[in-house]
Symmetry: C2
Subunit: 758 residues, 2 copies
């Protein structure tokens, strides 16, 4: 790559100063004149009929401006299966189901009003795991459906699994379990909804999907009878999202309805406890997996069946199999693949997207079992992975087109960094796991695009209006770097405008590690258009062919004649400040060359794929079962590193999140109730739990990526759990197949291994 | 004109609901976290040396965070002659000169701190009128200049005035006087300046010139040593401007310096008293005028000499001769013209732009004298005006190209509406006056342009980013009408984004009645580009030639085949929601075909010109001198009326402002001190002083105008004073040549006429 000024440089986040000096405006900071505070009453039971609700005392409380129940709101449906509603009318199906809501002049008054609402329930029998929910005679959540099973077309068949099985020399067959973990956003969920006198809606919310939120609330307005009204979504600063804000949520509809009812702006801001219990965690799963290999260690088949607890409503997690099947079919070369996933309604909490979106779950199974199978076949796990690693240019059985692929280099680098052969021989606990993930968008909607508008002022300063959402991942910084690079201006000259549907062009949302790739390509397209305008006017000004012009360090110059050069700002002003002058502006929309899955769930869903490999060395205390990470190496095929500083942050953040998933995190649900809804009892890793992480970037120069980059927002979290599980096995010989791998489980397994029954 | 859906319709202002429900955010409403309040200490003397300033007591006051004087700030210069500075260092030149400023945690604390600042002055002799300021030995404001006379190249010579005079049958020669009047904005001046940690500046201010304010503060930052920083100007809602916010003002620089010094946001908001005494009023003038006509009543020459009090600093009013000479040379056909204007420094307040920008002053002289001359020539004033009225297609001696011109129709319509001949014969007091004004921008900077960015969402909703400033004149509404019309969407579908330099494309500012014309053309250009994109995709979708396509009522259809039609929203979604789809966006910059004046002050400064004629019937109480307006008719050549409702508002507002100028308004200055800085003592017309106004729109269909419109923001105020003066003369036979025409002056003139000495 030619020498670049900003791309590839360790530039601190553009919003870092604002954040550390407390000047970012979060939903918490937000107050509109006349604003009310909304609070929600949740169900007292995991499953019950609502016989009646008496809100009279709440309504009489001074300062209360609106009280809503499922019986005095219009019928708004949302969610993946359209089976959720802002407030429940007839039945509650889980403890987090919303039963009533109030808006009052102060939060305390709203809290008091909530406590004055009397709900008359008729408790019903409930089910708390998929197996019992599928049993004959189990209580049904949706009686009209006749079953708790959710039938979705999430199967995949490639080649012939039975034949693959027959042709195997070695076969492994296991069951893995993963449980609920949650995003732990430090900024809790919240929004402010406000109507103007014409029925137009303004909503401030910390969503990841402003364009889709606008659409959904436009639909909701129509249900209120407000047709063709304007919906403006403004994102406040997002204190973490990780997928938790990829849908519209009950609290947003409730704020919207309270604002409509009261005629005043209404703010709902979750408490930490609400954030734990009333937002949707990562999808738990029970995973059956079998895979085999031939005598040379080449994978012969892979067969995955998942049974998943959908909880009480069909939310965003029901799409996660689209990613799970990708890893099943395409992480390593395997031609015979079967994937099945069943979701079952229970009276538990329901689930949604969380960083990796199904991939950490399935990768835990696939990569744990890769080690199991390698051991059976008597092949070193690194060797085994290299034998099967994907290669550039191949097409996977699910029809994913692998263009660039640095998996082998990642495996090699990790192996080298851990001094694999030596350390493993010495009996230390080291393990490895790899990943595949979408790296060039993911076409799950019909559009996977993002728009950009760009304008340049008289000094060469650039305003870039992008649809992209920066929820902390650093996309604003990366976009500014790319635009500054392309236009030859200073990084400081670039200002990013986003997060407001009135201002930002359309974007599908911040998901699937797509922002650098998609929004980056969009910004680059717009910048290139602007650049050609600059060259057009410079060509006339300098009397030089456009083909010989170059932009850099705020100057336009001829590549062949050093005399021909002009200050960019001077050129712009000479163009602007003349009769019938002009000011430079341009726009672009980029939608990547990827495909929706076809009816068989095959197709090239992403324009490129990210690969990576994690290696870890652990120490296991055989007396306590405590696992200590001594060294962690994360090698990623990133296409190219646009900003190594932020990229390291992305990867390290993912690794720590993944290590928490592996070792400590668990949302404890008892009879549908979250028992640890706080940071004391929910064990997220903190700085004192930190461990040394080495990040390695493999640059495969993706031809479709902006400055050859791939998306790497999610990959960091994906292979941590199996890498750690594999290391633990290597250390003490016990294979833990359910997460998190707590000291208790390790200890129990050690005892069992030593022949001591529990 | 073809039948239109929104253009030409009486649509209420797009911001009206927000304003009447109190949801517009004015600078008064504005508060940033950690914000301080700035207050200014003004001079105690009209002219004095500053010997010393003791700020120690103020600095010690609890809650005071910054105290500035001219001696601890960098040297920032501003104003038309660069002779003003935020705080004065050595000398004060007028009572409003800023001497010190403080920023404190509460406004009251800042007030107290101001009262604790001790300034040691050495008073100097002062001058309060141009004549004495020009006298030998007069005190000099700027000693280094050696004179108080300001020499500006504001002369104009067309033809041969002496020859014109010789060829005259009738000649009138008079002297007129106009005094200070002020804008009386109901929202006072104010701003909030805030720095981020990198030295970038954010300023909220109710300016009319966001793009230029950005430039000026970029320059100011450089003086602080902050090079290449970002300056973002955000306009708050403007509670009236009328030219008062066409410059950067001392209080803006002071807030900026206080924010820089304190490291915290600083707000300065003027009290009503400050608004009266520390903002700049309309330019007063002493006008000598002579004009003549031949036997047929044709004008032979016009000779104007003005002596004007510049006050203590050379501010925006020094440009007003550019407009004054336009009316002198080009209101009615007259080939021999001379115009001279001298400005003189005095220790009075200094002046700036105010609606009409010099035109009300000069038109008072020209049109009062038109009646005087008509009487001398024995020709009815209406007839006299018709003889000399401008015609379409003519070139005036100053090289103004009159394209469309409805002056004769305006005169006819007014005459008809007043039943001129009959009423005049009956001895009622009726009078008339006409006007010319720029109606297609005014190239006073090298660029007279405005940019627009436009984007359309999946439902055909349109966001229009314009450089245009809406300060109450209704430009947002008019732009939305034009865009809706052009794109065949609903008026409600259009959203206007403006008033933020990060978002809005460049615009020269809201002055010279240019916004509908310039921003309108710019918006139309962008809309046409977007429309051609719509047709491009519709052509493919409908299999129809682009030439046969039309847009209307949110549909695209074929003009020849009624079967070929599609919902706009559907078309947009089908284009967007496909692989490598697109979303529609476009941009345009419009800079009109007008010219800067040449060195002789000739040139076609505007792309078209507005004309109009006002007629009025008055009753004069001979006992009290009180003038009562019985009927007022205002006929204007508006090109075309884009929104008759708002246009009536514009014209009526202008007429009332003009009638106040004629009859009641006067800023009383005694020894440089404003003696009536409040609405009790400064007599603006109020609703109880209102009178019936009939507005008549003459539509001349300007070919360069957007939907054939001309600019008409200022004209309503221009001819009121002479029309009223002429009516008073017609009523009671006294000719008052200095404004305002108070009852005292009328009474004195009546007494004089009756031969009673005063």
């Amino acid at each position: 790559m030619k020498s670049l000024r900003y791309v590839g440089k360790r530039i601190p986040g553009i919003d870092a100063e604002k954040k550390v000096t407390g000047r970012s405006i979060y939903i918490n900071d937000f107050k509109l004149p006349g604003m009310l505070y909304g609070k929600i009453l949740y169900s007292q039971y995991p499953h019950a009929k609502i016989i009646g609700i008496d809100t009279s005392k709440a309504e009489k409380l001074k300062g209360v401006k609106a009280v809503l129940t499922g019986r005095n709101i219009p019928s708004i449906r949302f969610g993946f299966l359209q089976d959720n509603s802002p407030l429940k009318r007839e039945k509650v199906l889980c403890r987090r189901d919303e039963v009533a809501a109030v808006a009052a002049v102060e939060p305390e008054v709203a809290d008091e009003a909530i406590s004055l609402i009397e709900v008359d329930y008729e408790p019903l029998a409930a089910v708390f795991n998929p197996e019992s929910a599928l049993a004959q005679g189990a209580p049904l959540l949706y009686e009209e459906r006749g079953t708790n099973l959710i039938s979705l077309p999430t199967g995949l068949d490639c080649g012939n699994v039975e034949e693959g099985r027959r042709n195997s020399r070695w076969i492994a067959e296991d069951r893995f379990e993963v449980t609920w973990v949650t995003h732990c956003c430090l900024g809790t969920s919240g929004c402010v909804a406000a109507f103007d006198g014409k029925g137009n809606l303004l909503m401030y919310t910390n969503t990841q999907i402003p364009s889709y939120t606008q659409k959904y609330f436009r639909d909701a307005l129509e249900i209120l009878g407000l047709r063709d009204k304007k919906v403006r979504i403004i994102q406040t600063a997002i204190g973490g999202a990780f997928g938790s804000k990829l849908e519209t949520h009950p609290h947003e509809y409730i704020a919207f309805l309270l604002a409509y009812k009261s005629g005043r702006p209404v703010k709902i801001l979750f408490s930490r406890e609400e954030e734990f219990m009333a937002t949707s965690p990562r999808q738990p799963a029970s995973i059956y997996i079998a895979q085999g290999c031939d005598n040379e260690g080449r994978l012969t088949f892979r067969d995955v069946r998942m049974l998943m607890d959908a909880g009480a409503h069909g939310a965003g997690a029901l799409w996660a199999p689209t990613v799970m099947m990708m890893t099943t079919s395409s992480l390593y070369r395997v031609s015979n693949v079967r994937f099945r996933a069943d979701f079952v309604y229970t009276n538990n909490t329901y689930c949604q997207a969380m960083r990796g979106y199904g991939n950490p779950q399935v990768t835990f199974a696939v990569e744990s079992q890769m080690d199991i199978l390698a051991e059976k076949a008597g092949i070193d796990p690194v060797e085994f992975r290299l034998i099967n690693a994907n290669e550039p240019g191949e097409m996977t059985p699910q029809n994913l087109k692998i263009t660039t692929c640095g998996l082998k280099q990642c495996i090699d680098k990790v192996s080298e960094a851990l001094d694999w052969e030596k350390v493993r021989k010495e009996g230390h606990g080291i393990g490895m796991a790899s990943l595949i993930h979408v790296g060039g968008g993911a076409r799950i909607y019909r559009s996977d695009g993002c728009g950009t508008i760009i304008k340049m002022d008289d000094y060469g300063r650039v305003d870039v209006f992008t649809g992209a959402t920066d929820m902390g991942q650093g996309s604003e910084t990366v976009l500014a770097q790319m635009v500054a690079e392309e236009l030859g201006v200073s990084f400081e000259d670039v200002n990013i405008v986003n997060g407001d549907t009135n201002l930002s062009p359309w974007d599908v949302g911040a998901h699937a590690s797509r922002t650098t790739f998609i929004a980056g390509n969009s910004a680059l397209l717009a910048a290139k258009k602007l650049k050609s305008q600059v060259f057009e006017i410079a060509s006339e000004f300098l009397q030089e062919d456009i083909g010989f012009l170059e932009l850099g360090q705020r100057r336009v110059f001829s590549k062949r004649d050093p005399e021909k050069k002009i200050d960019l700002a001077k050129l712009l002003r000479s163009t602007h400040f003349s009769t019938q002058g002009r000011v430079l502006m341009a726009e672009a929309f980029y939608d990547p060359p990827n495909q929706l899955y076809d009816k068989e769930n095959k197709g090239n869903i992403s324009a490129t794929y990210a690969f990576g490999s994690h290696g870890v060395e652990v120490e296991v205390d055989k007396e306590t079962g405590q696992v200590k990470i001594l060294k962690y190496v994360a090698a990623h095929d990133v296409g190219s590193a646009i900003n190594p500083l932020l990229l390291e942050g992305q990867i390290c953040g993912g690794v720590v999140m993944g290590a928490g998933y592996a070792l400590t995190e668990r949302l404890i649900s008892e009879k549908g109730e979250i028992k640890n809804p706080n940071f004391l009892d929910y064990k997220i890793l903190t700085p004192k739990d930190s461990f040394p992480i080495e990040t390695i970037f493999v640059e495969t120069e993706d031809p479709e990526g902006p400055f050859n980059a791939k998306g790497v927002g999610e990959p960091g979290v994906v292979p941590s759990a199996p890498a750690i599980a594999n290391a633990i096995y290597n250390a003490v010989g016990v294979r833990i197949k359910d997460l998190p791998i707590t000291p208790e489980k390790v200890l129990a397994a050690l005892k069992k291994k030593r022949g001591e029954g529990r």
